[in-house]
């Protein structure tokens, strides 16, 4: 019938609690150390809040300007690999809980809850890692790393697939990719559990596609990928090149004599781009060579790069 009532004054309660939670001044404001303390309450974090907080730990909802405070850190057509500072991210979560505090007593008790929340979020991230890779032994103490991609890749292939491995080949243990999604029209963020040795960007497989390889240094020169007609697998041989007429009609008879052969030879598998951390940074400020060699002896269209470079120079002069 009656409300509980505390015989202690508010000051006494705070004094007693502060004695239990050592509070010190530091670069994070008042810092409360609750390590080794048995918590006075057990509580359950609502699922919605828990998932939201897990997202925060993965930098969701953190404005891009906090991640990349200067656009020069992520220029057009660039990829950057980074480490995540766990203390910085913990401070965001501390701030979230401070929003519900209305006084010193609240602060003290929320500090106690923060300890259990932090432990729960750590466990949640580890479970997320296990969902990705069931054999994962990653813990938060192993740290998180990630990559930012700002490129046409994101605009044109927003569903591209990110994979990470502990070794230099796909046969090594896969590392959980805790997050991989576009955060703007042309920026993608990926966060890995641990530090990968190999990272792959895979062209999304959105169903079968058909096309020809381009020999961009020879106008209208195209080719098809030689494939084993029984297994459909790439034989690894160089494409068979031919010249297309102005109408760009493909020479069906040259490609195959039956529909199955034509289909198999025109199929285009998804491309996989690999990044190895064992390879020192060597590119990024180089002018393009006359020919950028791609797989299967075909080359990239360097003209587009040079055109953009010329345009930038014009802008710089004006």
């Amino acid at each position: 019938m009656y409300q509980s009532f505390n015989t202690q004054s508010g000051a006494a309660v705070v004094a007693a609690a502060v004695a239990a939670f050592p509070i010190s001044s530091g670069p994070d404001g008042l810092q409360v150390d609750v390590s080794g303390l048995s918590l006075p309450v057990t509580t359950t974090i609502p699922d919605r809040l828990f998932n939201w907080l897990i997202g925060l730990r993965l930098l969701k909802n953190v404005p891009l300007t906090y991640l990349v405070p200067d656009s020069s850190l992520l220029p057009a057509e660039s990829i950057r690999f980074f480490n995540i500072d766990p203390t910085w991210v913990d401070r965001i979560v501390d701030g979230v809980f401070s929003a519900a505090n209305t006084g010193t007593v609240d602060i003290t008790y929320s500090a106690a809850v923060l300890a259990s929340v932090r432990a729960a979020l750590d466990l949640g991230l580890q479970n997320l890692a296990k969902q990705q890779v069931s054999t994962s032994t990653w813990t938060v103490a192993n740290g998180m790393t990630g990559m930012l991609v700002r490129s046409d890749l994101v605009t044109r292939w927003p569903d591209m697939i990110v994979r990470a491995y502990a070794g230099a080949t796909e046969s090594t243990a896969a590392l959980p990719v805790l997050r991989a999604e576009p955060i703007s029209q042309n920026v993608l963020i990926a966060i890995f559990a641990g530090t990968p040795v190999l990272v792959e960007l895979r062209e999304p497989h959105v169903g079968v596609r058909f096309g020809l390889e381009t020999e961009t240094d020879v106008p209208n020169e195209y080719g098809y990928i030689p494939r084993d007609l029984t297994t459909g697998l790439d034989t690894g041989a160089n494409p068979s090149w031919f010249t297309l007429p102005a109408s760009r009609v493909i020479p069906l008879a040259t490609i195959g004599s039956d529909a199955r052969t034509v289909a198999i030879r025109l199929m285009r598998p998804p491309y996989i781009q690999q990044f190895l951390n064992t390879v020192a940074e060597s590119r990024g400020s180089e002018n393009p060579p006359p020919v950028i060699q791609l797989t299967r002896n075909h080359v990239a269209n360097v003209g587009a790069l040079n055109a953009r470079l010329a345009a930038l120079r014009i802008v710089g002069q004006s």
Binding site: Y2, S4, F5, Q8, P27, D28, L30, Q31, V32, T43, L49, Y66, L67, D70, L73, P75, A76, I79, R80, F82, I84, P86, T87, W88, R91, G95, V96, S98, A99, A100, D106, L114, D152, L153, R156, W157, H205, G207, V208, G211, L212, T214, Y222, V249, I250, L252, D258, R260, V262, A263, L266, P269, P270, Y271, A280, E281, R283, G284, A304, L309
Partner: protein
């Protein structure tokens, strides 16, 4: 690589083509297994044997497709970035569809996917018609373009959409009659839009009588049938339409096995690559992918050399703009080269460091130091030397702090000596968390719920242990009390809610022993306190045995109310001492 397991078939030919009538012979045999009548063969025919035939017509899509008929298309409709070395295609849910009808010849498919742009619909003709064709061409060097020739465009032609400025070799009528040699540019006009027009079959009678006649010979097509049709110059069709024999090379069936379930899709691929041009001078044209019907269109191939334009029924179409932006591999590879940003450690910029010894790695210049702080601070309005870094660092961070921040504003910010370096990094992170929480109603609600569960002080007492003077009357009957007594008590309480019962002091000075004193508060001080309160609220004698203490609110004075609680306490303490 895609991990799906699939098979490719050249065709899936149905037993009975769509629109064909088939006859099914039926035989009924009534038999018995009655052993008494069983013949040596095991069963015996009994009483009745009959037969007959059933006629059926197989139906299927003929002039249009529904969404259910289409599994997918490439490139995506209205997309602007598909590489122009990829062939458009359409995947159909009906695995037999391309082989369900007779094409332009026996044993050919009846569907083709054509890819066109606006240039494909231009017809180039002499402004003076057939007469000019009979006159020998004059040397181009003597040609003089004459825009006036536009007036010679036959009235029956569609509106002129473009005029070539190239010097043509077509002579004029004047030249034909022996006059001054003057050459006119050919007239180029478009025969229509790259997207099909909706019409009835009978509408073709005037615009394309040959097609109209041919269509009416096809079972299932009538004059009033609503169709979508595209008008394409015969010269263009001659270039882009696969031969009747090759039509089948562009149709196949894909069988996908997933979880032991087989799914079949028939696929029609275009035999022509889209054209993005060079993209440096002119933007690429919009292209249309048109799934056209060639059912019984023997006439199309017969008319390819006869000029003019030919109407084709379109079952489905979509538009897109191709790109020369390169495929996935090319875009990936290009990132590494100037002026693109490269693949680098966070903090590095794609240019060589002015001072290699300060480079983070690779000899590149950098905007960050090893800890991730901005080397050149961002512009800020805060006084003093402020440094900041975000959560992303170029190198592994130091061990995680086991502390918890409870306030955003560190003391040393306020008390820092002038010029001292202040690190705002974690303070901004903390404030960001607050702002994110406050901005989200669901987070606020969840935090409130969570807050209720932990903000419970310890060491409780029940209010029932409080002095009765601080308790409200309760609606119940005490032990030994009659109902009437209880009602009277309740009525009294209701009528005089501000009164205290008999021996109760409003100030509540009784201690557990009833000595009228609280710890640290002497009886004399308490008395003075009570007196002071009485003077404020204008109460009568504080304790009236057996009666109630009445509070006269009407006697409360402004001066009394102005007396502050500390003053009352001080007065009481002064009195007690």
């Amino acid at each position: 690589m895609a991990s799906e397991l699939y098979q490719v078939y050249s065709s899936f030919t149905p037993l009975i083509k769509s629109g064909d009538t088939a006859e099914i012979d039926v035989t009924e045999v009534l038999s018995t297994t009655d052993v008494t009548e069983t013949k040596a063969t095991g069963t015996m025919d009994l009483l009745h044997t009959s037969g007959g035939s059933v006629k059926i017509v197989v139906q299927g899509p003929q002039t249009s497709l529904t969404e259910d008929d289409i599994s997918g298309v490439y490139p995506a409709p209205s997309s602007t970035d598909s590489p122009d070395n990829f062939l458009p295609h359409i995947a159909l849910t009906r695995r037999t569809l391309p082989w369900e009808r007779r094409g332009p010849a026996d044993n050919t498919v009846w569907l083709a996917l054509l890819v066109i742009n606006a240039n494909d619909l231009l017809i180039s003709e002499s402004p003076i018609g057939p007469v000019a064709q009979q006159v020998p061409a004059q040397p181009a060097a003597t040609a003089t373009p004459a825009i006036a020739a536009l007036t010679t465009v036959p009235a029956a032609k569609p509106a002129v959409t473009s005029v070539s400025t190239e010097k043509a070799v077509t002579p004029t009528a004047a030249a034909a009659s022996g006059g001054t040699a003057e050459q006119l540019p050919p007239i180029r006009y478009s025969v229509g839009s790259i997207t099909p027009q909706s019409m009835q079959v009978q509408d073709l009678a005037k615009s394309d009588p040959a097609t109209h006649t041919q269509l009416l010979t096809i079972p299932g097509i009538t004059d009033t049938l609503q169709i979508q049709a595209i008008n394409i110059p015969a010269a263009t069709l001659k270039e882009i339409l696969p031969s009747a024999a090759n039509l089948g090379l562009l149709c196949h069936v894909k069988e996908v096995v997933e979880d032991s379930v087989k799914t079949y899709t028939s696929i029609v691929v275009s035999g022509r690559l889209p054209d993005a041009g060079d993209m440096t001078t002119t933007p690429p044209l919009t292209h249309a992918a048109l799934l056209v019907s060639l059912e019984h269109r023997d006439d199309v191939y017969q008319r390819l050399d006869k000029g003019g334009a030919i109407q084709l029924i379109v079952l489905h179409y979509w538009t897109f703009v191709p790109s020369k932006g390169g495929d996935f591999e090319e875009v990936c590879q290009m990132i590494g080269y100037h002026p693109n940003g490269g693949v680098l450690r966070f903090g590095n910029i794609p240019s060589a460091a002015a001072n290699p010894s300060t480079s983070l790695s690779g000899g590149f210049g950098s905007l960050l130091d090893n800890s991730g702080y901005l080397v050149t601070p961002l512009d800020h309005a805060e006084a003093g030397n402020v440094i900041w870094r975000g959560p992303l660092r170029p190198f592994p961070p130091p061990p995680r702090s086991n502390g918890f921040a409870v306030r955003a504003d560190p003391e040393e910010f306020a008390n820092a000596p002038p010029g001292a370096q202040l690190d705002y990094s974690h303070a901004t992170a903390f404030e960001l968390g607050r702002l994110l929480a406050v901005a989200d109603a669901s987070v606020r609600e969840d935090l409130r719920q969570l807050h209720m569960s932990f903000n419970v002080p310890s060491r409780f007492v029940q209010m029932s242990a409080l002095p009765p003077a601080l308790q409200q009357p309760y609606w119940g009957i005490d032990q030994g009390q009659s109902v009437d007594q209880a009602e009277t008590q309740m009525d009294t309480a209701a009528e005089q809610p501000w009164s205290l019962s008999g021996s109760q002091s409003m100030i509540g000075l009784q201690n557990a022993a009833g000595s009228g004193e609280v710890a640290g508060f002497s009886a004399a001080a308490a008395q003075a306190f009570q007196s002071s309160v009485t003077s404020v609220i204008g109460a009568q004698a504080p304790v009236a045995a057996g009666g109630a203490t009445q509070l006269d609110f009407g006697s409360i004075t402004e001066a009394g109310l102005a007396e502050q609680f500390p003053a009352v306490v001080n007065a009481a303490l002064a009195g007690g001492n």
